[in-house]
């Protein structure tokens, strides 16, 4: 049985179309939804999680319709794309209440909250969530999605705005969850993020599905795509020259003392190197912003083919 089955699914927001006759099947494992901003990923995620009701077409998640369906909700974990949480709550209190909403007893809530916090590496954090960094907020969002031992985890842009160490760490967590038999649907506008994680990938644009298949097949189609990244760092010049020395990048452009633009054909090695640069060489990296125009060029190529 497919985890998700969508048939001619459409969703309109007034006069704007979010999803346009979208048809797809998602199987077990990790499925990546990739597309530029406005492609319809978040609309699809919201439909899958039952936040919004579908327009035309048919949608089944784990064989059930998702809108306002608590039976299905008890089997899925949803991690939204935004950072808003109950900022005044401490993580354990937040998870405790979320577990209560899953219908768990008090003792069970406590145990699962503590376990989920430890899964995401936040055990012992006892300050209000509002004081957390972006990466910690992402982790707490994943933790709350795990409280009900979900069969399906729905993650909307979980890597947005996090530094390379947290990014790598979140990927490990998601991979580990998948190995334990949890199916994952994950959205991103960065093909590379999905490439590292997903078994299957679904390319979306303008509310439609462009291409779907095993990640290897998709990457083969677009094998020579380059990957552009803006790196905000404490020392753009040093990091730029180190990346060049290592042969990890084709183009380096130091745009300011704290901003570096690079283009690479081997993002795997680059992403592996960056956490090392942080830990071993003391170069602070504040933010990585992959440029989605690469994705646009891939789409153009795909559509061209």
């Amino acid at each position: 049985m497919s985890v998700v089955e969508a048939e001619s699914l459409s969703k309109w927001y007034g006069e704007i179309i979010g999803l346009n006759s979208f048809t797809a099947k998602m199987g077990h494992g990790i499925t990546g939804l990739v597309g530029p901003n406005g492609a319809g990923k978040t609309t699809l995620i919201r439909l899958l999680s039952g936040m919004i009701k579908q327009g035309k077409g048919d949608l089944k998640v784990l064989g059930m319709r998702p809108f306002n369906n608590p039976e299905l909700s008890s089997m899925i974990g949803y991690c939204p794309d935004h950072e808003n949480l109950y900022f005044r709550m401490k993580p354990l209190t937040f998870l405790h209440y979320m577990a209560r909403l899953n219908g768990l007893g008090t003792e069970e809530c406590r145990k699962r909250s503590e376990r989920c916090l430890s899964i995401v590496g936040l055990s012992g954090e006892n300050r209000p969530i509002g004081t957390f960094s972006k990466g910690m907020k992402q982790r707490i969002k994943i933790a709350q999605a795990l409280l009900n031992d979900p069969k399906l985890l729905i993650l909307d842009e979980p890597f947005t705005g996090v530094d390379p160490v947290v990014r790598a760490n979140l990927m490990d967590i998601i991979r580990d969850l998948s190995h334990q038999g949890i199916d994952v649907v994950i959205s991103s506008h960065i093909l590379y993020d999905i490439e590292r994680l997903a078994d299957d990938v679904l390319l979306m644009n303008d509310g439609k599905m462009l291409l779907s298949g095993k990640i290897g097949e998709i990457v083969d189609i677009v094998e020579d795509y380059t990957h552009s990244i803006i790196i905000n760092t404490s020392s753009a010049r040093t990091l730029g020259s180190r990346l060049f020395e290592e042969g990890l990048v084709d183009i380096v452009d130091v745009r300011s003392p704290n901003e570096l633009f690079v283009r690479t054909r081997d993002p795997n090695s680059l992403y592996d190197f960056l956490p090392r640069a942080v830990l071993d060489e003391g170069i602070a990296i504040e933010k990585l912003t992959p440029i989605e125009n690469d994705l646009q060029s891939i789409f153009e190529r795909v559509v061209g083919k």
């Binding site: 109950y86 709550m89 209560r100 909403l101 219908g103």
Partner: protein, 251 residues
């Protein structure tokens, strides 16, 4: 499988946590309790001959006609609307609890807070008067009806403002118009015009049971009928809230 009673109870606890663990709640307690200073001052005056009549008037004018409206306007409109604005609603409706249960449990939990905010200063004022002037137990026929009026008021106004908060993105303006133009102005008009306000039925409840003060002089209908109207109105508004929230796209 739905989370059942445990999830509903959890939602009520969460709502209570959210409503009471904030500086705004503290500010509201201060605002609603501040008029108690007037009671303390009034009792210190030698010309205060009828303290329970004073309590009667104070509660009617200040708590029934103003605080009740203010507290429910602020708290009830924000109950769901703030979750939608802050986007945290996604954490609530993707759990083992139906949207209908979310709507009802949040409403019920907030009733307790609203009742506490309005009834606490009334009960404390009464107790203070009783302790200073005596007659604590012999004037319960004034306190009791007022507490009932406050309870009926938080249910009915709560349901109205709750629905408003679900339906309208910025409920403040309609809420203020309703509270201060519709309710306060129309309920004091002559003839049958007050019949179209909630305040009329709340007052009718009091007028049936309290024999002294201005509350007894209002035009009214029988208390049972008023209670019936308020209950029916609350139920209808609540059903509409539940229905509206259950079918809402939460973006």
């Amino acid at each position: 499988m739905s989370g059942g009673l445990s999830a509903t109870w959890g939602m009520m606890q969460l709502t209570l946590w959210q409503m009471t663990r904030s500086r705004k709640f503290l500010a509201m307690v201060i605002v609603t309790c501040a008029p108690m200073l007037i009671v303390v001052y009034a009792l210190s005056r030698p010309e205060m001959n009828e303290p329970y009549l004073f309590f009667n008037e104070l509660t009617n004018i200040l708590y029934i006609q103003l605080m009740l409206l203010l507290v429910t306007l602020i708290n009830s409109t924000s109950l769901i609307r703030d979750e939608i604005s802050a986007k945290t609603i996604g954490f609530l409706v993707t759990r083992s609890i139906s949207r209908g249960e979310v709507a009802l449990s949040r409403y019920l939990a907030h009733i307790a807070v609203n009742f506490f905010l309005v009834a606490l200063p009334v009960a404390l004022s009464y107790t203070y008067i009783g302790l200073v002037e005596g007659g604590l137990s012999s004037n319960l026929d004034i306190l009791g009806p007022y507490l009932l009026m406050i309870l009926a008021g938080v249910f009915a106004y709560g349901a109205f403002f709750y629905l408003l908060g679900i339906l309208v993105r910025h409920p403040l303006m309609i809420g203020l118009l309703f509270a201060f133009l519709w309710e306060l102005v129309l309920s004091n008009m002559p003839g049958r015009i007050p019949y179209i306000t909630i305040m009329f039925y709340i007052r009718s409840l009091g007028a049936e049971m309290i024999t002294s003060g201005s509350i007894a002089r209002y035009d009214s209908i029988s208390g049972i009928l008023a209670l019936g109207v308020l209950s029916a109105l609350t139920l209808v508004l609540l059903m509409l809230s539940r229905r509206s929230f259950s079918g809402k796209d939460l973006i």
